[in-house]
């Protein structure tokens, strides 16, 4: 499923809303999560999962094409831990 399919499905559920409104809702939702992570926070959506960021130390990397060494700066990277309900859902045979 991709973003446009999610918008379409939600539009079918909510005929009183325009697809522009649905799109706005989806953007506010996902942007809100990203923005909070960027500020250094954690986002917990019960039943679905939790988004957080993890710290990665600086390291010496290598350009895989040329083999030259490059310095990779310390950074924070996003991380998602699926919730229990979702994990259990995935392993139910249909």
């Amino acid at each position: 499923m991709i973003r446009s399919e999610l918008i379409q499905t939600l539009a079918n559920d909510n005929p009183e809303l325009s697809s522009e409104e649905i799109e706005h809702i989806i953007d506010v939702f996902f942007d809100g999560i990203t923005h909070h992570l960027a500020k250094g926070g954690r986002v917990e959506i019960r039943g679905f999962g939790a988004f957080s960021t993890r710290f990665r130390d600086a390291r010496i990397g290598r350009n895989p094409r040329t083999g030259t060494q490059v310095e990779v700066k310390a950074k924070r990277v996003p991380y998602f831990k699926p919730g229990k309900e979702v994990r259990e859902h995935l392993n139910i045979e249909i």
Binding site: M1, H24, F29, V86, R87
Partner: protein
């Protein structure tokens, strides 16, 4: 380590929709419920979910393997299972590095 700011919850996101989109709080909560429901349902059917600009929820099938109870050392088979991983978009990665 996380910065010292409160965890964003479903209630906070409901509030964001209420303020920024102008839905009632009840409708905001309903929209979030529906959205997560559709995403979870797609994953349950074995579909990956890709939200451009945000990231992809990717399913991986794990084979059965022999694990060990770390406390007792007893070997136990771990059943084959499907796990969910998340790969953040380049945009999200950049925003997190920039901190904005």
């Amino acid at each position: 380590m996380q910065a010292d700011i409160p965890t964003l919850t479903r209630a906070d996101i409901t509030d964001m929709l209420y303020h920024e989109v102008g839905l009632s709080r009840a409708d905001s909560a309903k929209m979030i419920e529906q959205m997560l429901g559709h995403i979870t349902e797609a994953l349950r059917k074995g579909e990956n979910v890709k939200i451009s600009g945000f990231g992809s929820f990717i399913l991986r099938d794990k084979n059965e393997r022999i694990g060990r109870n770390p406390k007792t050392g007893v070997e136990v088979p771990i059943a084959p299972r499907r796990v969910l991983t998340f790969r953040a978009s380049q945009l999200m990665r950049q925003r997190i590095i920039k901190g904005a």
